[in-house]
Symmetry: C2
Subunit: 192 residues, 2 copies
DNA sequence: AAGGGAATAGACAGAACTGTCTATTTTATG
DNA sequence: CATAAAATAGACAGTTCTGTCTATTCCCTT
């Protein structure tokens, strides 16, 4: 949407700090004042770059969306040429993410949860990410010769989001492996 | 855990109001004062029954856990004797839930999200529910003759939680049908 | 009818919240 | 070096938050 945002060091540092605190503790749990104190930035600097806390959160989600999809795309690219391997690489990447020390769930699911109302800007932005990821998956499914790529991508999305929730609840990586195994099974069936 | 809680009309009414507001807007978004005003109850009444807001939330989650599992069990019971039908009835029930007018996601996933820290009482209580549901699913999978009931139950849990997140993002019931179809496929494979 | 436990209203403390404003200083650029 | 833009500290308003306390009133049971 809004790509007029000029990148500046202060702005970037503010966003990095805000991201860290929001992701660790939650959007409503973290106040503006804490972010400013941790970032060592004046309040007016924040309000010169963002008109409200809500807009800051939306900007963070959009940034994270871009980064995450880029990381996914890179993971797929590294996985080689086999369509099956490329698709399953997404699940291996999930497993690595779940195992990383500061994994704390999916910020988009958490945003949907904290701002549950359908019309809320943060809710919609968070869901936009999930739709975009599903479209990426559909591309991969199509490349793998699935008869119904969109349908398979929908199912894989369910598995992925379920696995993220489970990893957040257990702090274990097993759900990624379960999801991967199911994905492999479904892919084999769909490409038959 | 704590089953010493005496049931009283005031307490029940307070919990019903708190549930409605928390589920609609979120735990951190709803203040004690709003609950009290909506319930028409004095502040000391709350603090005579619960030592803190956190304890109120935990009590609500435990109550909802009991109700939800009872509803699931009833759904399964009504579905007849066929193990497959009993298992798939859970997904039909999901679809009905997603379509109900005040569906607003899964309160347990939302609690995990709002209190992301693993050691937090609310986080743990919320995850306990997911574990309990998974165990119910494992029973159903075993009855359906699955070779690895626990493994299948894990996968079905992923599908269910993914479907709930998707329904919260889309306000549509389609994810329940996708999950159901996948569950049916997996069940057929597992019972072979 | 009397006594006791529960509920009440409402003040209160003390902190935290978002967002605004001003006056000053720093920083970058011509 | 000069000027304009950006960032600063910090006060401020006005609200909201959880939890505590007191003094009064309601209601149920004996």
């Amino acid at each position: 949407m809004s790509e007029t945002e000029t990148s500046s060091p202060k702005r970037d540092h503010l966003m990095a700090t805000a991201w860290r605190l929001f992701y660790r503790d939650g959007f409503r749990a973290v106040g503006i004042d804490l972010i400013l104190a941790e970032a060592g930035v004046a309040k007016m600097t924040l309000y010169n770059h963002f008109s409200s806390k809500e807009e800051l959160i939306v900007a963070l989600l959009e940034k994270r969306d871009r980064e995450l999809r880029a990381a996914m795309a890179a993971t797929v690219e590294v996985a080689g040429k086999s369509p099956t391997k490329r698709l399953l690489a997404v699940f291996d990447w999930l497993e690595g993410w779940f195992g990383s020390p500061d994994f704390n769930g999916c910020v988009f699911i958490r945003a949907l949860s904290e701002y549950p109302e359908a019309t809320h800007a943060i809710h919609r932005t968070a869901w936009n990410h999930k739709v975009a990821v599903k479209e990426m998956l559909a591309q991969l499914c199509a490349a793998a010769g699935a008869s119904n790529p969109a349908g398979l991508a929908e199912t894989l999305s369910l598995l992925i989001d379920g696995a993220i929730v489970a990893a957040h609840g257990t702090r274990a990586t097993g759900s990624a492996r379960s999801a991967r195994a199911t994905a492999a099974t479904l892919l084999k069936l769909a490409a038959a």
